[in-house]
Amino acid sequence: MDLHLKIWRQKDRQSEGQLVNYNLTELNPHMSFLEMLDILNEKLIVEGDEPVEFDHDCREGICGQCGMMINGIAHGPLEHTTTCQLHLRSFKDGETVLIEPFRAEAFPVKRDLKVDRSAFDRIISSGGFVSVNTGQAPDATAIAVTHQTAEEAFDSAACIGCGACVATCKNGSAALFTSAKVTHLVLLPQGKEERSHRVLNMVKQMDAEAFGHCSNTEACEVECPQGISVLNIARMNYEYNRALFFRKL
């Protein structure tokens, strides 16, 4: 199959970017989207051009490193899929595909399709953990967790931190990412002790990183590769209000 690509090229954070046209022919529909970019880059290198810089690593849909806007949709047309798990069979022969970096004030472009998502790390650093040092843990059976609770916590813990939720949100909000961690840890007995401290600090950091506010359009859940539910955001709001209330007491 053939594809016409319009790819955002930007030398660095300071430079102005622009869309550049590329044509690829004789592509195999079973190829992944990133393998298609590999082929484009091979071609560009041999022709003496610089390849398109894009982030990727595991190519199994789990590391969260890949991510780009494809035809205006985070990770492309399929629901709940990372870019590495998107295959050309999802496109039509001869289609024009627009490829841009994730856009958000808190995710500045580094080059071409690579963006800086270190704001997520700083949010985790502000409280997204259980404060337990190595070697202090009691026997694992001492903390009973029901099957349902463990599974519910897992649903939230499954977030891969790719940033699609931010990129797809009209406000550039990190509410889904942050709330997933808040929910994962607050559901488990071992994470309950720090619940107030955690949510207040994480929300504060989220704001400091220039992420926008959540206005409940629920677009994030639609594009999330792991299908993280917006109910996490409701829980984060509850936890936040609860923490504020008890802090005043």
Binding site: N28, H30, L34, E35, D38, E42, L44, I45, V46, G48, D49, P51, E53, D55, D57, C58, R59, E60, G61, I62, C63, G64, Q65, Q85, H87, K114, D116, R117, S118, D121, I124, S125, S126, F129, V130, S131, V132, N133, T134, G135, A137, P138, A140, T141, I143, A144, V145, T146, H147, A150, E151, A153, F154, A157, A158, I160, G161, H184, L185, Q190
Partner: protein, 638 residues
């Protein structure tokens, strides 16, 4: 050189306890004067950096990804082993030790393996305390399942994403220390050289992958937790960025490399479907708990899987290994698949796969139960292949996966360079010639959480008077200028072939001649071909862009340059070992029915290799393996 493995005195079950009792300590007030560099943020790297940070050392943590949470430990699926005996099925530390030693074909150190089994109990406790949502029984207790190579249930899991959840636990512990400023984080940095001062590891030279700047970092000890080098085959289950460069550069500075040819080929990956492919995706081995593996009985079968009746199917693992059946260890299962594929019974468009069939399990347990256990894997299979494995069997195929080889380390996990430690998959220890399923997450974690914090402290106790180490020294100058020269050379060659072309060509050579099966003639041929390919690389590679900016091609060029040398050493290693053991199957040494023949009389040792300089044959140094507790037996799973 005589290798001193520093195994403590005393009976096996007391060795680690004795070590901890006598290891030297560093006073908390002195810890803040000591700096430690950790390269890699996977399970081993994050856990050790977090643990040392908690203890009060100054830690610098490096990774090439954009966030430490991306490290490839995240992709491990099936589970993590621990001898908790929660199932009351007869498990114990001793049994886990015995299974692991046997699984590794008696090519690992007894003391290391026992310690790993011993520390496994604490790891589950640690992970649960961090909030890792392991699978639970309805009563609230932890659940577990069985895995390849063992007959008890000792594998704890978090759906099919155990590596992800364990890594996030370690990552969160790491980020907690980053917030407390006891750990400084350097993401998008790649280690390009190790710096030695007076024979001790004193720092590293790194390239900032965002800016292209070369930076110097000094420390009192350097820890490499960089994972394995299985990506050398190009097609593998590893992430695209996984590489062997950090350990290889350390090797060229004097650290010995042990058992480099032992690379596990995983039996349950998705088959290759075309030349464009960049990687092979692993499907968790846990699938073998409920999936039955088979190929058609008839050669060149053209019918679809569901149209082939039961009596025309060959469940070859159940046939050949009735005691373990579909749970036979990875090396055995991979070779058995290769045997059937080579014999002409392979399935799929390229006839390079075997079936993994869930129809019986779905019939017995219901689709819902199977969905709950493996749902994400079935979804992944559907996304990648376009086929629904609830309706028809999966197609799976063997693929390069985990390197059992790595830097030689002693019982303290220290390499032959004082002050340089290697953890997790970056070292050679614990797995012998074959790693049992769910032992890799375990080894990486216990190295980082429970072993290195004691052994590194023992080393650092001698360093409290050293004072701050400067990066403004001739040793750092030289390392930096070498790196800059290499970068300039890559850019200057300006040839006609891409880095990926060379990587793919090397990978194919290794697959064919130093892969699932090897022989003397093929290995000698491969060494010659690798040398030629390396020369061509330095004559004709094309690296576009500049050295002092973000440049992914340049990163890849450095890694592939190292792969040529690692690949050559892998072939030397495989050539000298005239036996079949674990992942190393030398065709000359097999029984008439195709089982491996080990030669304990001549090869009961670890092969540790010293770098002898460019274009020289590497030097082999042997560490004899002594078995006091379990005498090596013929490994049978029949």
């Amino acid at each position: 050189m005589i290798l001193n493995s520093k195994i403590p005195e005393g009976p096996l079950e007391k060795k680690w306890e004795n070590y901890k009792k006598t290891a030297k300590l560093v006073n908390p007030a002195n810890r803040k004067k000591l700096e430690v560099i950790v390269v890699g943020t996977g399970l081993a790297g994050s856990s050790v950096a977090a643990s040392l940070g908690e203890m009060g050392y100054n830690v610098k943590s490096f990774c090439f990804q954009d966030s430490p949470r991306r490290a490839h430990s995240v992709a491990a699926q099936g589970g993590v082993n621990a001898a908790k005996n929660y199932k009351n099925d007869g498990d114990s530390i001793y049994r886990m030790f015995a299974d692991t030693l046997k699984g590794g074909d008696f090519r690992a150190r007894e003391a290391n393996v026992y310690r790993m089994a011993e520390c496994s109990l604490n790891l589950i406790d640690q992970a649960v305390a961090q909030g890792v949502p392991f699978g639970r029984e309805y009563g609230g207790y932890l659940n577990n399942r069985s895995f390849g190579g063992v007959q008890v249930s000792r594998t704890f899991y978090a759906r099919g994403q155990t590596g992800q959840q364990l890594l996030l636990g370690a990552y969160q512990a790491l980020m907690r220390q980053v917030g407390k400023k006891s750990v400084q984080l350097f993401s998008r940095h790649e280690m390009l050289d190790l710096v030695l001062v007076d024979g001790k590891a004193r720092g590293i030279v790194v390239r900032n992958l965002d800016t292209g700047e070369i930076e110097r970092h000094a420390a009192h000890a350097v820890i490499l937790a960089t994972g394995g080098y299985g990506k050398i085959y190009y097609l593998s289950t590893l992430a695209m960025g996984c590489n062997g460069s950090a350990i290889w550069r350390a090797h060229k500075k004097g650290a010995l490399m042990a058992s480099p040819s032992w690379i596990q080929v995983h039996p349950t990956s998705l088959p290759q479907s075309g030349d464009y492919q960049s990687k092979l995706t692993l499907m968790s081995e846990s699938l073998r708990n409920d999936g039955r593996i088979w190929v058609p009985l008839n050669e060149n079968e053209t019918r679809k899987a569901n149209d082939i009746p039961e009596n025309e199917r060959d469940y070859y693992l159940e046939r050949r290994y009735p005691a373990f059946g579909n749970l036979a260890p990875r090396d055995i299962s991979s070779r058995a698949a290769k045997e059937r594929i080579d014999a002409g019974f392979g399935i799929g468009p390229l006839k390079n796969a075997v079936y993994l069939d869930f129809s019986k399990a779905i019939k017995e347990q219901g689709k819902e139960k199977i969905q709950e256990k493996y749902g994400n894997l079935f979804d992944m299979y559907l996304k990648i292949t376009g086929y629904d494995a609830y309706q028809e069997p999966m197609m799976i195929s063997p693929s390069a996966h985990f390197s059992m080889g790595g830097l030689w380390v002693d019982y303290e996990l220290m390499t032959t360079i004082p002050g340089l430690f290697a953890l997790g998959e970056a070292n050679f220890a614990d797995h012998g010639a074959n790693r049992l399923g769910a032992n890799s997450l375990l080894q990486a974690s216990v190295d980082g959480y429970f072993i290195a914090p004691y052994t590194i402290a023992n080393y650092l106790s001698q360093e409290i008077h050293t004072g701050k180490i400067s990066t403004d020294t001739p040793e750092f100058d030289k390392a930096e200028s070498n790196i800059k020269q290499q970068i300039e050379d890559f850019i200057r060659i300006n040839g006609t072939k891409t880095v990926d072309y060379f990587h793919k060509t090397l990978g194919k050579l290794l697959y064919d001649y130093c892969g699932l099966a090897r022989n003397e003639e093929g290995l000698k041929y491969a060494i010659g071909e690798i040398k030629k390919l390396k020369q061509e690389f330095y004559r004709d590679v094309k690296v576009s862009g500049k050295g002092n900016t973000m440049n992914t091609e340049l990163e890849k060029a450095g890694r592939v340059a190292d792969y040529f040398e690692i690949g050559e050493l892998m072939c030397y290693d495989a050539l000298t070992r005239n036996e079949s053991c674990g992942a190393h199957f030398r065709e000359e040494f097999q029984t008439p029915d195709g089982e491996a023949v080990r030669n304990d009389a001549e090869f009961q040792f670890i092969s540790a290799w010293a770098w002898a300089g460019e274009n020289n044959e590497p030097e082999l140094i042997k560490e004899p393996l002594v078995f006091e507790e379990i005498q090596p037996t013929v490994r049978s799973y029949k």
